[in-house]
């Protein structure tokens, strides 16, 4: 970001509830002005992290710093963070104006200033005409805006948002996503966002932290998460992915020969080039590429849109082949389900080319399965890992 100063620092934070370990050794720095999203399945501890930051829970071990100040022992009302709650949590007995003014009143701001600040916050979320209403007289989207105004009016260092859009319908959610991004641009404050919607996480964040069972599996830019997942969990959690089992035959520099689905193929390990590519995770994944040597079991991951198909000539042998078993028209794209020779089913996404309908594959056709070189992801087979 513009100034890469740490705004939030979590130092080896863990949290237990009774004997249940909910967060394990979370070590993380969030910069000033950054938009960081925690993404993960239900129950992985996303809300717990936000509650630790807001001060509603105390970490079992570790320290928390916000804006350079150790806040581990500070109660919620003395922290420079504000939360936009999942259910909005607007005060039902107060008008929209009083809801938004609440934080300022707690800080004994002069009434005149409150008036101006509240209206400017309400204008920002386009709710100024509703200032006299009660929350119960507003729609979900409107309540959402008020909740955001109520938080940002206090000019916090950090805005915590716990699935703030999950209760909204698709169209409104899209609109609010754009508004939130815009708001973040104008306010320049740090956003910590929680969602289990991968698309939402990718479209809004500078960095995404993918969580699973209380640990951060990977924290990176959205494109890196998508294109260079460090493990199967991340790869599978963010979008569709095809997985092939294989075994290394030989390695030389940036590429290797491997046996994948019973066929010998060449896999690249460089990870330069087209922004994608198989790569060795640097972040200290349990088994790094360095351990890959002849005989190591591997997984080869391929996004459906990176799969390249060719019609297989009748006498053709060698390479990965399969036959189309189903096609799903998706408007812009078409999904092809391919049954590989070994019986495994994979998914390929092709762009729908209206000018050349004959280029489309039809059910029953035999195809040769390949990919754009460098865009495959090779991971050591961690065996037990499953989703």
């Amino acid at each position: 970001m513009e100034h890469a100063l740490p705004c939030i620092e979590l130092e080896h934070v863990s949290k237990h509830f009774g004997d249940q370990s909910v967060l394990r050794d979370i070590h993380l720095t969030i910069n000033h002005g950054e938009f960081l999203t925690f993404l993960g399945p239900s129950g992985c501890g996303k809300t717990t992290i936000l509650r630790l930051l807001a001060g509603f829970e105390r970490p079992s071990t570790g320290r928390l710093r916000i804006g350079g100040v150790d806040v581990t022992d500070l109660p919620p009302h003395r922290r420079a963070v504000n939360t936009v709650f999942q259910n909005y949590a607007l005060f039902p007995h107060m008008t929209v104006f009083d809801n938004v003014a609440f934080g300022l009143r707690m800080r004994r701001t002069p009434a005149k200033v409150i008036d101006a600040e509240v209206f400017s916050a309400l204008r920002m979320v386009k709710m100024e005409t509703h200032h006299a209403r009660r929350p119960s007289q507003l729609s979900g989207g409107q309540q959402q805006r008020v909740a955001i105004a109520r938080a940002v009016v206090n000019k916090p260092l950090v805005l915590l948002l716990d699935e703030p859009l999950s209760a909204l319908d698709y169209k409104l959610r899209k609109a609010m996503q754009i508004e939130l991004k815009e708001l973040r641009r104008t306010l320049g404050i740090t956003f910590v966002f929680v969602t289990h919607d991968q698309e939402e996480a990718f479209s809004m964040s500078d960095r995404v932290a993918v969580m699973n069972e209380g640990v951060i599996e990977q924290i990176d830019s959205p494109s890196a998460i998508y294109e260079k997942p460090v493990n199967l969990f991340v790869a599978r959690f963010v979008g569709e992915i095809n997985t092939f089992e294989g075994r290394v035959l030989s390695r030389n520099g940036t590429s290797m020969q491997a046996l994948v689905e019973g066929e010998q193929v060449r896999l690249s390990l460089g990870g330069n080039g087209n922004g994608g590519g198989a790569h060795c995770p640097e972040g200290g994944s349990p088994a790094s590429c360095g351990s890959l040597s002849a005989g190591s079991p591997i997984k080869v991951l391929l996004r459906p849109e990176d799969v390249r198909l060719e019609r297989a000539a009748p006498g053709d042998a060698g390479g990965l082949t399969g036959s189309i078993v189903d096609t799903v028209y998706k408007g812009m794209t078409i999904d092809l389900i391919i049954e590989m020779s070994g019986g495994k089913k994979i998914l390929a996404t092709e762009f729908f080319n209206e000018d050349a309908p004959e280029a489309l594959f039809s059910v029953g056709e035999r195809v040769r399965v390949g990919w754009v070189e460098d865009w495959e992801v090779v991971l050591p087979d961690e065996g037990s890992q499953s989703l």
Partner: protein, 284 residues
Amino acid sequence: MKDRSLFKALAVTLTVGWLAVFVIVPNLLTLATGFLTRGEPEFVLPVLTFDNYARLFDPAFFDIFLDSVWLALCTTVLCLLVGYPFAYILARLTPARRRLGLLFVIIPFWTNSLIRTYALIAILNVNGLFNAALLWLGIVSEPVELLYTNTAVFIGFTYTLLPFMILPLYASIEKLDHRLIEAARDLGAGSFQTFFRVGLPLTLPGIIAGSMLVFLPALSMFYVPDILGGAKSLLVGNFIRNQFLVARDWPFGAAASVLLTVVMGLLLYVYWLCHKRVRRAEPA
């Protein structure tokens, strides 16, 4: 369709009938009796008079009335002060402990309240447990005369009526969305501000309901002052009872009773107004 309308008709008839026989007619009889004259062997003479209602403005009766209101008010306030924290803690307990706590609130109802009031005599006595405790704690150096004073009545009322305060309070505190409390804390409110700006206003329906359930009986209950207050403390409740059973002045007793009903009716009206305001503020 037909069955349902038949059921509806039956239900309405039954309800209206019940109200007419047990509520409206008796109240009208009381109202009417207040306008009649006292008679010796037959209790009431059918001679119209406004005397009874006029006598309500007699300073002597007015004092009794004021005393009663004051005592009922004190009882309500004490019940609220004791009941609110109790209900609050109860609502925050784990479900199993909560059930146990509620059981403790309800257990006294298993014993007739008249008997429990008599038991209070033994406790409040000069030689009773209460005085023993005060002496032991060193709060007083010699036993205090509590029994047969308004203080004893006050204690009796509070004891008898406390559950009626706790239960509605508990219901509304338990319903309170804890996330709103967190939202207030998040926005910079300390515990005190959070309570007075969010907790209290949102549990107001429970506070009003509980106060009604304590105040109204405290105003009219006659056996507690009878047993614990002795002759020294005359409250509206036992004053009315005395008019009927001791002084044999039915018309005056009826007039006083009508006054009490009117006052309670007004309070219920205020309650309804408050409730309507609070309800409007709640999410639809």
